[in-house]
Amino acid sequence: KHPDLLPGEVEFCSANPILKYTQDDLSQRGVFGTLFCTNFRVTFISDEKPQEKTDKTFKNKLYGENDIPLMCVDHIYGVYDEKRKLITGGLVKNKYPSKMIIHCKDLRVFQFSLTFSKEEDAKKIFQGIAHHCLEEKSLKCVFIWCWSHYSGCALFKASFPPVTQEDGDFQKHLDTMINAVAHNHLYSVKTEDLSESLPNIQDIQQSYNKFKQFFLIENSTDFWLSDVKWFSSLESSGWLDIIRQCLQKAVEVVECLEKDNTNVLITEEEGTDLCCVISSLAQIMLDPYYRTLMGFQSLVQKEWVAGCHAFLDRCNHLHQKDKEYHSPVFLLFLECVWQLVHQHSPAFQFSETYLTVLSDSVHVPVFSTFLFNSSHHRESVMKAESPLAQSGPLSCPTVWDWSVQFDSKAQNFFFNPLYLEKVKHDRAVRKPHKPKHQRNLSLPSTAFKTPPKKGFFKDETDSLKKMLRVKRLSRWRGSPDAPTATTREFFESWQHRPLDYHGLLLPCLDGPAVHIWMQRYLRWIPEVYILGGGSVAVMTKLMELLSQVQDLKRVLEQRDSSQAAKLDHRPYFQHRLLSFDSSGRLSSSFPFAYTCYRSFKPIIPTGLMQSLMVTDSLASQEDEASSVVSFV
């Protein structure tokens, strides 16, 4: 048996029989099969006949449930005499472990036993995988306009190297920059140095490393042990707090643009990390176009890909040892977007499944989108590599070509059935919001409002320059716990207005409102599968109903118009994907994990006693305070 190789995929080595442990319990049960390592992935093919699969409507064409793209490997552990060791380059040569554990970046955990195959095969496959996954491989911007508010004020971002000494070039650059802003936009400028007020990329990396550990669950015992201190563990990672801080900052930026009508310039050292996060978030909150599927893609393309976010370094695609540059900044952005989607789901055309798949695709090395540090980098690599390729220039698909990964039926899961489409005739009015059009509006003839702060703006810019030169001061600095009173007011006044899903959208940032992205983080953990429940139960019902409405509409259209040509040309989504019979048995982790092998049994927690040791005297008190034991 061999895996179906993709074009250009080469098999390096394989071993058989290998036991793949089933994740759900402590019994050392598993499936025998062959483990392969190719230049694209590690893959396991079961010896058993594939069971009758439940209809896999959400199959990824590039990699399946037993495939791990090499870039997706996070850590490899070897178990030597019951002891677990992290595998790094050096350890590999000596000895191979009895058991190999692979932690993936999309949080799957695989465990393989190597003891059943021939020694040399086991050695080869282990060394092969370790080598291809772990070895190092070989292989700036000015300030950028991001988005304009209809009032004419705009959001900018800029890289901003630390000011150490009087640097002539830098000074000149800064002057040009600020004058440009001041001349083109008749409003005052507020600057915000993100590196002052937000955690830096190392903080983000550290926090995420802690956070993800809570989801890399190897067995039930682990699961129930970590369940006990779940909330305090989450809090100690600080990840949710970082999400809150980013959203908070984006709300502050939005407030400046929307309420105060000031230009906003956000800066940081490179201008391509948190600047991307904050500017993209602000645009999603302000502009409903970016809440559509196409709009969101163009936002990512504009702010992140064209905006020179260093995907290659940040995602550590090359497994470099130098940890300084790794940071899940893009994932942080997706997390923030998920919070918005979770709180205001009818405002978004895409679903959380779309976000989850996008977060996975970052680690699939087939796409050019997330492979490079900048478009310049991409071009130079593509050019350099192309002579080597036998036929024609090197071409990598972009991640947005979803048909590479999913067939059209599976792509339906990217659409949010709750999305409230804008009524058509309003579209014309909304047009000026589109950035393309807005660009020409940089000198607004209609919006000659007096700037909120009186005075000649040259003064403003002068003081701004001074401020930037002397010290990078954050204007609205505040601890995340105490957002400035005005921001709170801004949110509350927005909240009091009737909610318009096609207007300004703000997140609630109070503690209980910030949630865990359950679909992404819990999808591989059988202990939390809800059979017949979860949001999939709601979504299937909604999809069903939606398809019925569409069917009826079509019937009416066909009957209504003799000119059949006038039919609606909007994309027609098939919403009838699953029948109710199956939805009753689907688990909450759908469409990612399949539970065909699980019997319909509850998951009984273990070790409950450890969980709650109430030590105070209340615990030993009698139920009836004044109880006289009736011992008649």
Partner: protein, 583 residues
Amino acid sequence: MFFCVQVYKDPSKGELPLLPEEHVQDSAKDVTYICPFIGPVRGSLSVTNYRLFFRCTDREPVFGLDLPLGVLSRVEKIGAATSRGDVSYGLACKDMRNLRFVHKEPEDSLKKSVFEVLMKFAFPVSNNMSLFAFEYKQVFPENGWKVYDPLAEYKRQGLPNESWRISKVNDHYELCDSYPAALVVPVTITDEELRRVSSFRAKGRIPVLSWIHPESQAAVVRASQPMVGQNGRRCKEDEKLLQAIMDANAQSHKMFIFDARPSVNAAANKMKGGGYESEDAYQNAELVFLDIHNIHVMRESLRKLKEVVYPNIEDSHWLSNLESTHWLEHIKLILAGALRIADKVESGKTSVVVHCSDGWDRTPQLTSLALIMLDSHYRTIRGFQILLEKEWLSFGHRFQQRVGHGDKNHTDADRSPIFLQFIDCVWQMTRQFPAAFEFNEYFLITILDHLYSCLFGTFLCNSEQQRLKEEVPKHTVSLWSFVNSQLEEFVNPLYVGYPSHVLFPTVGIRHLQLWVTYYIRWNPRMRPQEPVHQRYKELLAKRAELQKRVEELQREAANRTASSSSERAGSPTRSITPVQTFV
């Protein structure tokens, strides 16, 4: 914007609404309400024999408070009067909020302040007055007191049958004054034997059947602890009864006894004459402790929770603060216990006996949750009402003591949020299975609001016997009269009635959430959102409209081309089936 109880009108609009037999007792102008969210608000305050009504006069948008006096657990003067004669009053509520008012004391010291009147009417029981429920005479189209008929419910379960009979031994509540009149017991046990068992079980609460599996005949049986004591007392009738329960289920030769308490507490009970079933005396029965804590621990946990959520939330320490209350951990233990019971009955086909100490707090929590998992009937609106009437009210959960209706003794150690905790568990299940319950969140919140309001007679008294003695059904209105007269308010549009589906919820803390729309609903920033339901309702309406138009067109077409039937062959309308009947 908030879930307000429907029987109150929106306080921000219009004048004080009055219910039948509700009368204003006193009112005062120039009262200041210190709102923790928007600051001090001046307005007028009225107290009736049912509610407190505050309406501000100088503010846009108009602000108001309208709460039944029943939710008050404490009213007290805070500090002495200021030099200007202002006095502050603190009102602690049972529904997770505290209110604070400032008011100038009347100069005439003989005249009572509005707050003194409030104290009198907030605690009618302590002042020898009757609860408002006994005065409220609203007539509803439905009579909620008829919702639960024990014999009809047992009949639905197929009882009596060849193994189980309905005994009249407790017809006059002589066997056990906290149990219902109708009890289901094994046919092989005589009433005389039951009497002897009752002296061996705490408070006479003998093992009786709660529910029987329609196929396997495995039964859920509830009881109180056996009075084993330090000497290991035995009772052969009790042993015979448990053996008979096991024998009634031919599928299994084993039985599980679930003791809801932590084993330490169960053992400590031996000192006071109680205890648990020993293995020697009850062969073939396996005893499992479920580690659920007592009413005092639960009360303390809720008190901590209130501290953490009201009025302000510390955002960056929210999760660890929440954890330190242990509230969700208690929820987890209760759900886990119920899950184990349901698993033994469903997957193991074995009968189970559930008890705690007295069998009226943790026991109904566990049995009713297990029953919701096992029997889809209890997931409907009326089924749920029957479940509450049966497992909680008729089997003597001490609502009067646990809630303290109209009683000013707020430090009473008998108070405990046991029922709230159960409703929270149900809410957790509705989150995990959004299409499996006929009722919505608003239904659960309404039940909790009227647990305290004392508007309806449903949750008054401690037992069936007491309710009968006080003639509660005769003199008060049932909450179900109100609910069932406007069912559409409480229906979950996503409901699919899978008839024979057992629900096994996930009890990991990772899947439990704090019920924000209940516990934090007073915080205006926590605006509840139900976009899914709303969108769904819109779609249902849209579909109905389109369906109608299609039908009209079809009728027209049929009339026109009566002879040719080929045209309609491919009509997609065949796929349109009413949603509610989907299986």
